[in-house]
Amino acid sequence: MGMVGDARIRVPDRITRGEIITVNSIISHPMDTGFFRTAEGKPIPAWFIKDVVITYGEEQVARFTWTSGVSRDPVISFTLKADKEAPLTMVWTDNKGGVYRQSVPIAFTAA
């Protein structure tokens, strides 16, 4: 993980239709609260992800509203009922207007 907004989504290698899978995600972001100062005493302004939208195919399946209380480089894991072959997309939006997108295909293992 390097630049702000670098994001990864991990899903299982083998997925069968109808299975409930765990989706793990991480995004590189400082999640600054606005309460800290630099070593020189300058205030560090608040800079945090406030909104995460998760879309599976055309359907929005979840949406998270965050504050700067989520730890630096936010990780979030959730589940998904894998009932179609379609991309799973996450869009993270921060309080300065930064928008970060990542997507993984959900594809089924041949039986």
Binding site: Q60, T67, S68, S71
Partner: protein
Amino acid sequence: MATSEPSSRRTFLRTAALVSAGLVGSGAISRGERLLAAVGAGGPEDPEVPNEIVAKILQDISRGRPITRGHLSLDMPAAAEDGRIVPLIIESDLPMTVDRYVKVVHLVVDFNPDAHLAVYELSPAVGTVSLSTRIKMKRSTWVRAIAETSTGELWAAYAHVNVTLNGCG
């Protein structure tokens, strides 16, 4: 794992506050009792409401409905050395069907600068409630996970975490 602390005094205060709910505004009862009465949504063994901010958050979530402990689990370390990174897992045995599902899970951390730390809106497409993440905590306190179902029920789980290093600045 954190568990609720048995406290006869706390139970007494809570009970007294609920009994005296009709007296809110009379000026005859303490601030703590007013807070408890104002929320009036939890059971006698639930964590005390520490201040007006948390009371307002719980009121906004409950809108007069009871918040009942159960059907939700909140797993956190009982002691967290570094308040900047405190892991948590929220799970539920509630159904996730089109007819009845958990539509939102609230995460509230008493005494944090933003006490209403996160809101997780879900849909039946996630299949089950299983969330894990890492949060910042300012000091030792209670963490509350509250789930609202599509049919309007409110279910809660609580965890007490002892925090050594303030993670909020």
